[in-house]
């Protein structure tokens, strides 16, 4: 088991290398010059433009730039943002906690909503109830996050005043206020994922409904609740765990829209700004951080399989 974890962690290195090379070259393929963005509208002096490009190393071929960047990162130096001059390590350190908390909170909410709804839909004998849940989940999957977020703010913050807008105190200093502040963004992010989880759970439940061991459990005279909880749900959850793993990874990268709507200064917004400003080093660091987390989440998911099903072994 330990060897397996070590292997998987080692595998991170080639994955991140490929991703970084890909992002680096793609970024340089899109038109637009960071030097010009830095100099802005007023400064059109070609000599100055060249000088800034030289400072940034942009006059070198892309592979040389990539090599330089790689050797710096190998030594643990992400450099500074070309736009703001702030160290990228600091920027990431400030932004990552926001995004990680948002993603975890959203996954938790998505599970808390998705699993019970899916279970109910998968075990109910009422066609109307099943149909209603199917429609609701379809809606949840289809509504765009920017609209859902805006509606939540209007309803819960502006009209009802149940939640503050844009208040994100650190978890350590004021946990209650923090959870309250992050609730609406997390819920917005959770909505489509809760719907996806609910659909997956429903399908799994329907699949295991006819299995022999379920019939056997019923024949033993177990109550329906126990049959569902102990026999059906545990087996139905294995594919759901895979889905949750994938969802968590996507949430990390996909928080851009929600961070934009709720004004959360997380890595999603940082990455978006970096693209707009052509801030190459910042974008590289953001992509690496998100990709690394994605791989780690998948590792955790694989380990959870073992807990759910003792027949699965890694070596």
């Amino acid at each position: 088991m330990q060897r397996y974890v070590a292997q998987r962690l080692l595998l991170l290195i080639p994955v991140l290398l490929v991703i970084s090379a890909l992002v680096f070259s793609l970024m340089h393929l899109i038109p637009g010059d960071p030097a010009q963005v830095i100099l802005g509208f007023e400064n059109t002096d070609p000599v100055q433009l060249e000088a800034v490009r030289r400072d940034l190393g942009l006059d070198r071929p892309v592979y040389v730039q990539y090599g330089r960047w790689l050797s710096r990162v190998a030594r643990g130096q992400f450099g500074t943002s070309v736009r703001t001059g702030r160290p990228i390590g600091t920027l990431l350190g400030e932004a990552l906690p926001f995004t990680i908390e948002l993603a975890l909170y959203a996954v938790l909410l998505a599970m808390l909503i998705g699993i019970p709804v899916g279970t109910l839909a998968g075990t109910t004998r009422s066609r109307a109830a099943d149909g209603a849940m199917q429609t609701l989940t379809l809606l949840g999957l289809s509504l765009p996050a920017f609209w859902v977020g805006a509606m939540f703010i209007l309803l819960f913050s502006v009209h009802l005043r149940w939640f503050p807008v844009l208040s994100y105190p650190p978890l350590a200093t004021d946990p209650l206020a923090n959870l309250r502040g992050f609730f609406l963004p997390a819920l917005t992010l959770a909505v489509p994922n809760a719907a996806a989880i609910a659909r997956m759970v429903r399908a799994s439940m329907v699949a295991v409904r006819g299995e022999e061991y379920v019939k056997a459990a019923r024949a033993k005279g177990l109550s329906e609740v126990l049959v569902v909880r102990r026999h059906m749900l545990k087996n139905a959850l294995i594919p759901v765990v895979t889905l949750i793993g994938i969802v968590t990874g996507y949430l990390l990268g996909g928080a851009i829209v929600v961070e934009q709507v709720f004004a959360i200064p997380g890595v999603g917004r940082m990455g978006l700004q970096a693209i707009v400003q052509r801030d190459y080093p910042v974008l590289q660091a953001v992509v690496l951080a998100v990709a690394g987390l994605f791989v780690l989440v998948n590792l955790v998911v694989d380990l959870i399989y073992v807990l759910l099903d003792p027949r699965i072994r890694y070596s």
């Binding site: 899109i30 038109p31 637009g32 010059d33 960071p34 010009q36 963005v37 830095i38 100099l39 802005g40 509208f41 007023e42 400064n43 059109t44 002096d45 000599v47 100055q48 000088a51 800034v52 736009r83 703001t84 001059g85 702030r86 920027l91 400030e94 932004a95 926001f98 920017f146 805006a150 703010i153 209007l154 913050s157 502006v158 005043r161 503050p164 807008v165 844009l166 208040s167 934009q260 709507v261 709720f262 004004a263 959360i264 200064p265 917004r269 940082m270 700004q273 693209i275 707009v276 400003q277 052509r278």
Partner: protein, 518 residues
């Protein structure tokens, strides 16, 4: 007894008058934190290097220049220089500095700081976008610790108005040694100093030794702190001010939509003034068929500017001539009286035929992505121009691409917003003169060059106004690009925020005189 009654009555009237007057303008209260919501990320805070509008919204309160612009009247006022004289030939400006000004580290301002600042801006190594504005400066000499003399290479009657923005703010000598990295740390003389530069927000704290006082002799500023919060989504920005999370929303994203959405909310106050900045359609005069003035004239005749003001700006704006309508003293010709300003698609077609181009003329149009109205304007123009024989294809690109193509003159036309200025020279010269630093239009016209140069060399305001009146007509006929409209600017404040004035220059300096009622 009778006298006593009269006295008592007089006293009562006096007391009533006093309390009545107080009810109208309550005395400012000190303390509290003013929270400002803006949509753009705050970037570089080096006053001489910054280019983003959001950076200047912060720098307005941290750095000060030799002179100030009154935010209401747009007239020059003493700033760090308490007085100045101009030599008869208009080449020597002598500034006398205030003696009670200190930087945020407690060190006193003197003439060497002014010289060091100008040298820093003009030093090519600084890469300051402000350098081109200060290009007329030949030499800066320190007369004594509080008097500094600036000698110009050529006459520049607009020189004083160049000294009013934070981009030319005075920093101490050895600025970089003192602050380290001026992009993230500041050292100015302004009413507030930077104490926190975090993700998505900036916190400024009152500088206790700030030199300016209010009419009653109280030290400014009133509030303990100002916080800028970046809220990128305009809908969230509106929600934030409604929910009382911020006291003021201002800048991009606060527009006619916001004004309409928030109109009638009891604890909000909506402010608006005409903008100095203007929307424009840039035309590449270096490229056929747009190099033919008749084609450009056809574009002007194809454009219904009034309709654009109605559709894009909800009627809250003015059809744009080359001189902003707010600058009365430069005698702006009313836009409706300018040549080629009345829409006439039939005449536009005629002009195109005379120019010998095949109809319809294919035109690509690139709206700037950072100004939401630009895309809308491009869509309206596409409709309007179709009637005159143009087929417009809208090219949507991101900001960095826009900037690169703008700079390289790689466009047929673009839609954008140009920053305005209180002096017509600064407003026009750099864009329209054939040697202008931002003449990306490849526009060249000897007569217009001559008029611009002549106006630049003329000190007499009346003669200058006359020259600019002539220039307006010439520009309307030659069409370096289309001046489209001056929209109204908006800001929304919670009623507890007092004393804030929305300025046509978008200056945030009035926050130094703003206060919160509790």
């Amino acid at each position: 007894m009778k006298r006593f009654r009269i006295c008592a009555l007089g006293l009562a009237v006096l007391l009533f008058a006093l309390t009545g007057a107080q009810g109208q303008t309550p005395a400012p209260q000190r303390g509290g934190t003013i929270r400002v919501g803006i949509t753009q990320e705050i970037l570089n805070l080096d006053p001489h290097v910054a280019t983003a509008f959001s950076s200047f919204q912060v720098l307005d309160l941290v750095y000060e220049s030799l002179l100030r612009l009154n935010p209401r009247t747009l007239k020059l006022e003493p700033g760090l220089a308490q007085s100045w004289t101009v030599s008869p030939n208009g080449l020597e400006y002598t500034f006398t500095l205030r003696r009670d000004v200190t930087f945020h580290d407690g060190s006193a301002l003197d003439a060497s700081d002014v010289k060091a600042t100008i040298d820093r801006i003009l030093d090519p190594a600084t890469r300051s976008p402000q350098a081109s504005f200060l290009a007329p400066i030949g030499e800066v000499t320190i007369v004594n610790p509080f008097v500094v003399k600036v000698t110009l290479k050529q006459a520049a009657p607009f020189f004083l108005s160049l000294l009013t923005v934070p981009g030319r703010g005075i920093v101490p000598a050895n600025f970089v040694d003192k602050v380290g990295d001026p992009r993230v740390k500041t050292l100015g003389t302004g009413p507030y100093m930077l104490t926190e530069f975090g993700p998505g927000s900036v916190r400024l704290t009152r500088y206790e030794r700030y030199w300016r006082k209010d009419a009653a002799g109280n030290r400014l500023p009133y509030a303990d702190a100002v916080i800028y919060r970046v809220i990128p989504d305009p809908a969230t920005l509106r929600a934030a001010v409604r929910a009382g999370e911020v006291d003021l929303i201002i800048g991009f994203g606060v527009d006619i939509t916001a004004a309409r959405a928030l109109a009638g909310v009891s604890d909000l106050r909506i402010m608006s003034v005409p903008d100095l900045s203007y929307s424009l359609v840039g035309i590449n005069a270096g490229k056929a068929p747009f190099s033919d003035v008749r084609v450009r004239q056809a574009m002007s005749l194809a454009t219904n500017r009034e309709q654009i003001v109605q559709v894009v700006y909800g009627g809250r704006g003015t059809v744009g001539g080359p001189i902003p309508p707010t600058l009365e003293e430069w005698r702006p010709v009313p836009a409706r009286n300018l040549p080629l300003y009345q829409p006439d698609p039939a005449r536009a077609r005629q002009l195109l035929q005379q120019a010998g181009v095949n109809l319809p003329v294919a035109v690509k149009m690139m709206p700037i992505p950072t100004v939401p109205e630009a895309v809308q304007m491009a869509q309206v123009l596409k409709e309007q121009w179709a009637a005159a024989g143009f087929t417009v294809e809208i090219e949507q690109v991101d900001f960095a691409t826009f900037l690169a193509r703008w700079r390289g003159s790689q466009f047929d036309t673009f839609v954008s917003l140009n920053g305005g200025a209180v002096d017509p020279d600064i407003h026009l010269y750099r864009h329209i003169h054939s040697t202008g630093s931002t003449n990306v239009f490849k526009f060249k016209d000897a007569a217009i060059d001559q008029l611009l140069d002549q106006a630049r060399a003329t000190a007499d305001p009346a003669r200058r106004a006359e020259l600019y009146t002539r220039l307006q007509r010439a520009i309307a006929e030659q069409i370096p690009f289309l001046f489209v409209a001056y929209a109204d600017l908006f800001a929304v404040a919670r009623t507890q925020l007092n004393g804030f004035v929305l300025s046509s220059t978008r200056s945030m300096t009035p926050l130094a005189e703003s206060w919160l009622s509790r």
